[in-house]
Each structure stands twice: as C-alpha cells, then as structure tokens.
C-alpha cells in the first residue's frame, strides 16, 4: 500500500492544473485516461509524474472519444477513473457522457474551458456551460461544479469523486484556462484527515463467482426496443436526479438582504464580481452577489428567494448568455425589475469594468 500522498496539511503555491492532479491523487483516483488539449495538458503532465509513485495508472488514448469511453471502462471495472479535456474535446466527450448518464457510470471529467466555437483560443472562456450542463442526446443528468479559486479546484475535485460514486451520475469540474494556468496559494490536505469519508468504488462487471452458477450474469445495456420500455428505464433516473439535486446543489450569496442591485456570475468571473461589490459597498452602493457553484443541478429555489428580495440584476459572464439561459429558466414567471447583462465571450472580466457599469446604471 502506497503511503498517503499528502502527509499533512500544507500551504502550497501552484497552477490550477497541478492542483487538480494532486486533488485526484488525494481523492484516491486509480486511473486517468486522457488526450492532449490545451489548456488542460498539465493535469496529465503532473498525473503521469505522481501516478507511478502512488500505484496509479495513466493511458494516453487516440482521441477524446476514446478517452471518454476508456474512462467509462475504468469505472465499470470498479476503479475511480477520470479524464480532463477542453473545447472541441468537450464536444467529443458528449457521446461517452451520454452513455454514462444512461448507464449511471460514475466518471469524473475536468473541463478547463477555452474559447469557442470551433478551435478558437486555447486560453479562456465560459463558453462550455451549455455543453457540460445539457450536452449530449439526453436530459442533462450530470453534476457540474464551477470553481473560482485554486482552493475550490482542490476541494471540489475531491468532492466530485464522492458525488460521482455516491449518486452515480457523471460529474464535472468546470474550470477555465485562467484557473488552469495561473498560480495561487491554497492548502492541500488528505480528505480523510479532515473527516471526509471517501466513498469506495464498486465494480459493475467482473464480479466474483461464475455467472449462471454462483450468481446471475451482469447484462448492461443502453438500447431499448420500444418507447414504453425506454420510458420505464429513464423515469427512475430522473427521479434519482431530482432527489440528488436537493443534496448536492451549492451556491454562494453575499449582501443580498439590503441590495439595490445583485451581480450574478459563476466561476472565475465571480472573483471580479466580489471585488466590484466590495469597492462599491465602500462607496455606499448597496451591491449584492449571487453565484451558482453547481450549474447542474442549478440552485433555482435559492435564486428565486434572492429575486424575491431584489430583482435588479446585472448578469456577467465570459460567454453570450449561456449562464443567463440557466438563470432565466430559474426565474421563469417571477416579476423582475431589471435584467442587465454584460457578455464577453472568450474574454476575461475585471472588477473595474463592473464598478463602472454599475455606477453608470445607478446614475
């Protein structure tokens, strides 16, 4: 048995991709399957250096379809498997992930968003929200954690493995190229040392005993012959998803009780939103803040409660309304005073521009 990868809590200063690799080791991941694409490559680079020291494995596949389907195979064999991708790679991942949704295969995928559509930039965007939440030919049965800091990348990567294996839905960490490549401080730890119980993986196939003699054979499928058979197979998945949603939904809200305007954002953009809020509060402008941490399931009820207090919103994202679509769906049929937007597809957002925008609006 390999010794604990992180002996004691320690403060470190590293890039987001390195953080993810360490978090996967700390979470007890067994095997990574991956294909190179910027800006996630260093997750593989660090994993391939760490893995042999801790009895873990890596396979570089021929493409992202293969990376996705081999990751499913790893989970079916009862190992904590994961992959990482971005942009056009995330597009290819939709096919294996729809199989994971249908067959309840607990895989973890880290997406470091890059510009889109098409090849676009290798640097940054928030344009993969549509794809990670509702991509594939299905109903969006995924869990998506949108992180904002390196500490969150560490915490939520560990959490993603537990969410995946507890509820058996494919689980995403949604980061971006800025988070992937920049360095910042965080505290790394062994989850067990903090009382976090890591859920043990279980095999779906290759179980002990001879099928047909000691036990029934396992026959797993995702194809159904008639409409009603499919309906009967999928509705319990939807019920499980709804039941899970209440337990996994996460959000952050600040200064909403007395707010005159609330900034809605997610991921790394929420850091600009917090900075803008703090600066404007110092000037006496009552700014609030709402951030969904899980984009799927979305904190609908929590946002509705906030909207009942103040519905003068500024929604900001590095995409052309992908977060806005989720927000509008959550607020459907609610009276809204104002819904202002700042869309910067594939471009970062600064606190300064948010301050200027709100000061102009307030005047």
């Amino acid at each position: 048995m390999a010794e604990k990868p992180i002996q004691e809590e320690k403060r470190v200063f590293m890039t987001g991709n390195e953080v993810v690799a360490w978090a996967a080791v700390a979470a007890g991941a067994d095997i990574m399957y991956g294909y190179p694409i910027t800006p996630q490559n260093e997750i593989m680079h660090y994993w391939t250096r760490l893995a042999p020291k801790h009895g873990k494995k890596f396979l570089q596949t021929e493409d992202e379809l293969s990376a996705g389907f081999t990751t499913l195979g790893g989970a079916l064999a009862g190992r904590k498997s994961f992959s990482a991708t971005a942009g056009p790679g995330t597009t290819l991942f939709q096919e294996p992930l729809s199989m994971a949704e249908m067959m309840r295969i607990p895989v973890v995928v880290i997406v470091q968003q890059r510009g889109g559509p098409s090849t676009a930039t290798v640097i940054y965007s928030q344009q993969e929200v549509n794809m990670v939440t509702f991509g594939g030919n299905g109903e969006g049965w995924r869990v998506v954690y949108s992180t904002a800091t390196h500490q969150e990348l560490f915490d939520y990567t560990i959490k993603a493995f537990n969410t995946a294996w507890k509820y058996r839905f494919p689980t995403f960490i949604l980061g971006d190229g800025y988070q992937a490549k920049m360095r910042e401080p965080l505290v790394m730890y062994n989850p067990e040392d903090r009382g976090i119980e890591m859920i043990k993986p279980v095999a779906s196939l290759g179980l002990p005993g001879t099928p047909g003699k000691d036990r029934d054979a396992v026959h797993l499928r995702n194809t159904y012959s008639v409409e009603e058979e499919l309906y009967d197979a999928t509705m319990p998945i939807q019920e499980d998803y709804e039941k899970m949603s209440k337990e996994v939904v996460e959000w952050d809200e600040r200064n909403v009780d007395d707010a005159d305007i609330i900034i809605i954002s997610h991921g790394v953009v929420s850091r600009a939103a917090i900075a803008a809020m703090n600066r404007l509060r110092e000037k006496g402008v009552k700014v609030g803040y709402f951030r969904p941490i899980t984009l799927r399931p979305f904190p609908d009820e929590q946002l509705q409660k906030v909207a009942a207090k103040c519905s003068n919103f500024l929604l900001v994202e590095s995409a052309l309304g992908q977060l806005a679509r989720l927000v509008k769906s959550a607020l459907f049929n609610m009276p809204i005073d104002n819904f202002d937007t700042l869309y910067k597809p594939g471009v970062g957002v600064t606190a300064e521009e948010l301050v200027q925008r709100i000061e102009k609006t307030i005047k």
């Binding site: 396979l59 996705g68 389907f69 081999t70 790893g74 009862g78 196939l205 290759g206 026959h219 194809t223």
Partner: protein, 250 residues
Amino acid sequence: MAEHLAMPKSWNTETKPHKFCPGCGHGLVLKVLGEVIDELEIQDRMVFGVDIGCSLLAWDFFNVDTVQTHHGRTNPVMVGIKRANPKLLPIAYMGDGGGYAIGSQHLVNSAFRNEKIMAIVVNNCNYGMTGGQMSPTTLPGQKTETSPYGRDAKETGNPTLGPEMVAAIASPGAYVARASVSNMKQLKRFMKKAVENQIAGNGFSFLEVISSCPTNWRTNAKQTWAFMEEEMAKYFKTGELRTPDESKEG
C-alpha cells in the same frame, strides 16, 4: 432436450432462441465463442462488450458479464476495463461498420498499442441493423440501399481488408486471423487461439469472421452460401496473419 444439450454451457438459455434473423451468421460465431468459453473455462473472468448494430442483440446472449456500448466504441470500453483491472479478459464484438468505419481509429490504435484485449469483427458486407446500407466491406458491384446500382470502387473505394491492416501494424505477441462461418472447424481453431492469446497475455487478438446476411442480401439459402464462399472469399482470404510464435495456418 437434444437441442438444449447442444448449446454451450456458457449460453444464457433464458434468452434462447436468440434474436438474430434466420440464416444470420451471428448465431454460429456466438456458438463457437460459447464453446471456447466453456473449454477454456473463462466464464468467471471474461467481460463481453457488444457494439451497436446487429451485434447489440448479443447483450444478454451469454452467462458472462456483458456491457453493450455505442457504435464503434466497444474497443475503447474494453481497453478501459482491461487497463483498470488486468485480471479480466475483455472481448469486444462488433460488425464491419463498427470495426472498420466509425470505430476504425480505435481498432487501429488498440492494435498499435498492442492492447491486451480481443476484438471480433463479424463481416457481412453491409450495415444489417439499419437496413442494408453499403459498409466498408461491401464488395465492388454489390447492390445495397446506398449503392443501389452496385458499389463503384472508383467512387467509394475497395473493401476494407481488416485483418491485413491490423497484421501490418500489430506488435509481436498479437494474434490476427480471418475465419468464416462456412468453415466452422477452422473458425473454432482460430477463435480458441485468439482467446488463448489473451489468457497468455501476449498482446492484441483480432479475428474477423466472414458471415451471412440473407435478410439484406435478399438471398435464399443456396445463394447466401454461394455469396460467402464464392464472392466474399475472392476478397477476404481466410487464414492466420499473425501469431505469437509466427507459425501460421494459411
């Protein structure tokens, strides 16, 4: 009872009679595979992966842990299983469309990496499940739903020679062969050697099996047999192309 006793022990009797069309070769391939599973006693560590297309009808065929995947994606699922748990013996089962068209990159790269899995491609010269379209192995001049005037090799190329392609790129330790349901004894020998190669852990095993599709070929029994033995045999030569010890049965 006599028929029942003729079934391989590893067959799942609850799903028999099977769901393939009358005259389809799949039942013969799966019978041979069942006999090999029994003789080599691998029922407790084999994992069977079936593709989309007619091969998916085998999803509950055996008393063997089985997963039905997506079209062309059975090889990578089996690779993922083997890499995660090397004690298991994954066998991927697909048609010529899954193996040579939509999943060709996975077949080529599994062979290049010498993955310790086995892949069986059942070659019946067309996409059967979707209604008989032209496939990578459709013969020149052969009429299908998407080549209604016969396959024109100048427009759509010549039939894919799967085992020849795999043999050309395979590493030492690989087993590569082509058999036919029209020669069951040879099919059994090759199937067994391909599985034994997995048990030994030598390398990738690849077996193409020439098979029949009377439903889409629109042939009677005699014509079906003639198409396999005369037309298909001209292009697709049976025999061993790679063996771990480099001895070959032609």
